[in-house]
């Protein structure tokens, strides 16, 4: 069935069953491969996208639930907060294998858009759903703090 959804500012029409997880539509149909598959059950955050600015796990979000909503993927990130996050990620050379990092970046941007000056507990809470098996957490924490400083300045 044809479903229309708005991804990264563009309206796209895809042929998929309404219960298809957004992740597979993004990857298989739209070839937006920045969002990754890590668990399929909302446990790892590798598939994190923004729906109306909120971080969401695309692996458990049925595409049929997104009519009229704005989906942003890592490919469509832009703006001051995204720039600050990318700069901080580069400064700290945060990624190791990199596979989780789209999700980490999406989580960081969603957090800082909403809470530009997060307390450590806000960071803990925002990242509670993002696993990094390489354990780049020390650098993620520093990079989020740095990005927060930049957007504040």
């Amino acid at each position: 069935m044809a479903i229309s959804l708005k991804v990264n500012g563009e309206t796209r029409s895809v042929d998929a069953a309404a219960d298809t997880p957004l992740l597979w539509v993004l990857r298989d149909e739209l070839r937006l491969t920045g969002s990754k598959f890590g668990c399929g059950i909302a446990q790892c955050g590798a598939c994190t996208v923004h729906v109306d600015g909120q971080a969401r796990r695309s692996c458990v979000t049925p595409v049929g639930s997104l009519e009229g909503r704005e989906v942003t993927t890592i490919e469509g990130l832009k703006g001051d907060v995204a720039d600050a996050v990318h700069a901080a990620w580069a400064k700290h050379d945060a990624p190791q294998c990199g596979y989780c990092q789209s999700g980490q970046v999406m989580t960081a941007v969603a957090l800082l858009e909403r809470t530009p000056k997060p307390a450590p507990a806000d960071i803990d809470a925002a990242f509670a759903g993002n696993i990094c098996r390489c354990a780049t957490y020390v650098r993620i924490r520093k990079a989020v703090a740095d990005a927060s400083d930049t957007i504040g300045g």
Partner: protein, 723 residues
């Protein structure tokens, strides 16, 4: 070792070649051209197989090791760029093609990444490659400018002579015609500007922060099918039959086929394949399956540990020393099966190619074995297989396959559906957690003796576990006289001067496939040695740091150096809040030396690790920031396992865990603060991908024992403390 054996034999013969290990591999020369995709611009300047300089000034380093986060792309490129005096902003890295003659590991003889060996085996080689390229560029410039080569300077990607200067690219074509110097001189360490530079940016950070980096899962081909495989719920079970009617009725499911490892469902897209697999009915023949629970296996292993096994190391007379000891300490340890759970579940893409060959995209770590296995499964020669080595989302040992399990599965799936259309094999997290090739379950028996003055006079250690070398090409290399180096490493060579020692092992067999897991034997032997010595020192009334140093300073001075440094960083003797304690552990592994001090408190019956001070001696520090990152990563990955992870087999052998909800991973809020110090050294560089891991478990355990009075001898902690 070892017979030289032709690699182009069938896999059976290859694996079955009794006593022989592959040390030489003959490959058709044309494979060397595999690095570039068809249609790539020809590369004008190829001083050797490791570096290309393009007319566009871009210096491309071909990296013989797979990049999955441990840093060989940046690391090996650093070595080349240093001697070449390249402009770092023009340096790129890519994976070298499959060619064991050019890129084989000097020890294994096959192209492989492992043993934290990338920097260790590349330090001279890659610097020579850079220096050779530099020599050829200089020779070309000297010829063009009619100048003596010795008067030409090279700076940051430029060739300079008097008032003339030109970028590398302008001499790339001409340099290709110059002979490569055979033994070019290398810089003195005092002249290094990239090696040892903590601010050198990694080459792959940008692509990995924007979603642009391509992993195997991101490869799509026209007309590609996605395959998921239903695997058995018990190890050793085989397909008895299946009913695919319901699966075939799922829209988008194209085919259902039995392959060696289970039943493959092929979908036009991922969701169709997954939905099809859900309703597929498979019956299993469990006659040769593992039916013991992991509890039972642990009991069996500990029973075996009552007897001394094949001796890995002996000195003095441990029996007499134990009998004469004033105080003795006995301890049994059990370590669980562990899955590696790399962030990218295992996957592969295989597509038909021109001339009856195939093209493969794979996060290939055992490159040569994967290559051969795929060729065999497709019934073609290795020269008909173009293997693209992809960035991989972690490995931790899982991809270092002696039997190429998932590459074989992908090739079998491709053939089963006709061999004429692209197929992507995708494992789900459940396939991964339940897929075997675990860190082996091991049992340990320790007996220690102190004399009346509190000196440690006896140390007996029996290690029991499966060997991951059994029935693999690595068997004759890794198992000698009944001793598996991968089982006893770290136990057979303790850093402490003890007069009477006996360390032995029993190699067990079973249907659960096991494999090296980040830091291999040290994952358990490091824990055992470092917690047992801590208990013995405590019994002797000695301080954990001073007591270790007294026994270690002579025998292992570099490890002692890291211990002194870490203790100083942590301010070991300073008072802590009453609810916190420090624990320390020092482990030498893969030629590197690491000590960690952990500050721990207990919360809700589980340890909370606040901070870790880590000192590492890995010789010359090529990339200090990558070294620090690998220490952080080793600590986090090790903590995940030691705090939470255990892969259990239940009654009847059924696998109990399946995904991150029951095989937990450390999260950001559980990650301690980490301070890393790198010991200054001019020794040859050694690896850091694994050595950061072994000390963290015992450091935490030693702190926990101070807080609770109870040793933890059966990790994970969370289970041990709540059981």
């Amino acid at each position: 070792m070892t017979a030289v054996q032709q690699f182009n034999t069938t896999r059976r013969a290859f694996l079955g070649g009794a006593g022989g290990f592959v040390v030489a591999v003959t490959l058709p020369v044309r494979l060397r051209a595999q690095g570039g995709a068809p249609g790539d611009a020809p590369r004008p300047f190829d001083p050797n197989a490791f570096v290309h300089v393009g007319a566009d000034d871009i210096v491309t380093v071909l990296v013989k090791h797979i990049e999955f986060g441990q840093g060989p792309w940046t690391g090996l490129a650093t070595l080349v760029a240093e001697e070449l005096d390249a402009d770092w902003s023009k340096v790129r890295a890519e994976h070298a093609p499959s060619d064991p003659k050019l890129y084989g590991d000097p020890g294994f003889g096959v192209q492989i990444t492992g043993g934290s060996a990338s920097i260790r085996t590349s330090y001279d080689l890659m610097r020579k490659a850079g220096a050779a390229a530099r020599g050829m560029l200089v020779a070309a410039a000297a010829r063009a400018w009619n100048a003596p080569a010795s008067d030409i300077r090279v700076e940051n990607g430029m060739l300079i002579y008097g008032d003339k200067s030109a970028s590398f690219g302008s001499f790339a074509d001409a340099a290709a015609k110059e002979a490569a110097p055979q033994d070019p001189p290398l810089k003195a360490p005092a002249d290094f500007r990239y090696i040892g530079n903590p601010d050198l940016p990694k080459l792959d950070t940008a692509a990995k922060s924007t979603g642009a980096a391509m992993f195997t899962l991101d490869v799509y081909r026209d007309g590609m099918l996605t395959a998921v495989v239903r695997h058995a719920d018990k190890f050793g079970a085989k397909v008895a039959g299946f009913d695919a009617d319901a699966a075939r009725a799922v829209p988008g499911v194209v085919d259902v086929r039995q392959i060696g490892s289970g039943v493959a469902v092929f979908g036009r897209n991922t969701y169709a394949a997954l939905q099809g697999r859900k309703v597929l009915k498979v019956t299993w023949d469990e006659s040769r399956a593992e039916t013991r629970s992991s509890e039972q296996i642990a009991t069996d292993w500990l029973a075996a540990s009552r007897e001394r096994g094949a001796v890995a190391h002996a000195q003095g007379d441990v029996d007499a020393a134990l009998a004469a000891a004033a105080t003795t300490l006995d301890a049994d340890y059990v370590f669980p099966f562990l899955a590696h759970a790399p962030m990218e579940p295992l996957d592969a893409v295989i597509a038909p190619a021109e001339g009856g060959g195939v093209e493969v995209w794979l996060g290939s770590q055992s490159v040569t074995i994967d290559h051969q296995t795929i060729a065999d499964a497709c019934g073609i020669g290795m020269d008909k297989v173009k293997l693209n080595i992809m960035l991989a989302g972690g490995s931790f040992g899982r991809r270092a396959q002696p039997v190429s399990d998932f590459a074989r599965e992908a090739a079998e799936a491709f053939m089963a559906v006709g061999g004429d259309k692209p197929v992507k094999l995708m494992w789900t997290r459940e396939d991964d957690i339940r897929g075997g090739f675990y860190r082996p379950l091991s049992g340990h028996r320790l007996r220690g003796g102190l004399d009346a003055d509190g000196r440690i006079v006896a140390w007996e250690h029996v290690v029991v576990g499966q060997s991951f070398a059994t029935d693999t090409p690595f068997e004759s290399m890794l198992i000698q006289d009944g001793v598996d180096g991968g089982l006893v490493e770290g136990a057979s060579e303790i850093p402490y001067a003890v007069p009477n020692i006996n360390v032995s092992n029993h190699i067990m067999r079973g249907p659960v496939p096991v494999l090296w897991w980040r830091s291999v034997g040290h994952t358990h032997t490091g824990y055992v040695v470092e917690t047992f010595i801590d208990e013995l020192l405590e019994k002797a009334g000695k301080d954990a740091v001073e007591g270790r140093l007294a026994l270690m300073s002579q025998k292992n001075p570099r490890l002692a150096g890291t211990l002194r440094k870490a203790a100083e960083m942590a301010d070991w003797r300073a008072a802590r809040p009453a609810d916190r304690a420090l624990g320390v552990a020092s482990v030498q592994s893969f030629g590197s030396y690491v000590t960690q001090v952990a500050e721990v408190s207990m919360a809700d019956g589980a340890p909370k690790v606040h901070k870790v001070w880590c000192a590492v001696d890995c010789g010359i520090a090529v990339n200090p920031d990558i070294i620090a990152a690998q220490m952080e990563g080793g600590i986090g990955y090790g903590l995940s396992a030691i705090l939470f992870n255990e892969l259990q087999l239940g009654q009847g052998g059924a696998i109990m865990q399946s995904n991150f909800h029951d095989y937990r991973s450390l999260k950001l809020h559980e990650m301690p603060e980490v301070d890393v110090a790198i010991i200054k050294s001019d020794a040859a560089p050694t690896g850091v991908g694994e050595p950061g891991l072994p000390p963290i478990g015992p450091a935490v355990a030693n702190a926990v024992r101070k807080l609770t009075g109870e040793p933890v001898r059966r990790p994970p902690f969370v289970r041990s403390m709540t059981a």
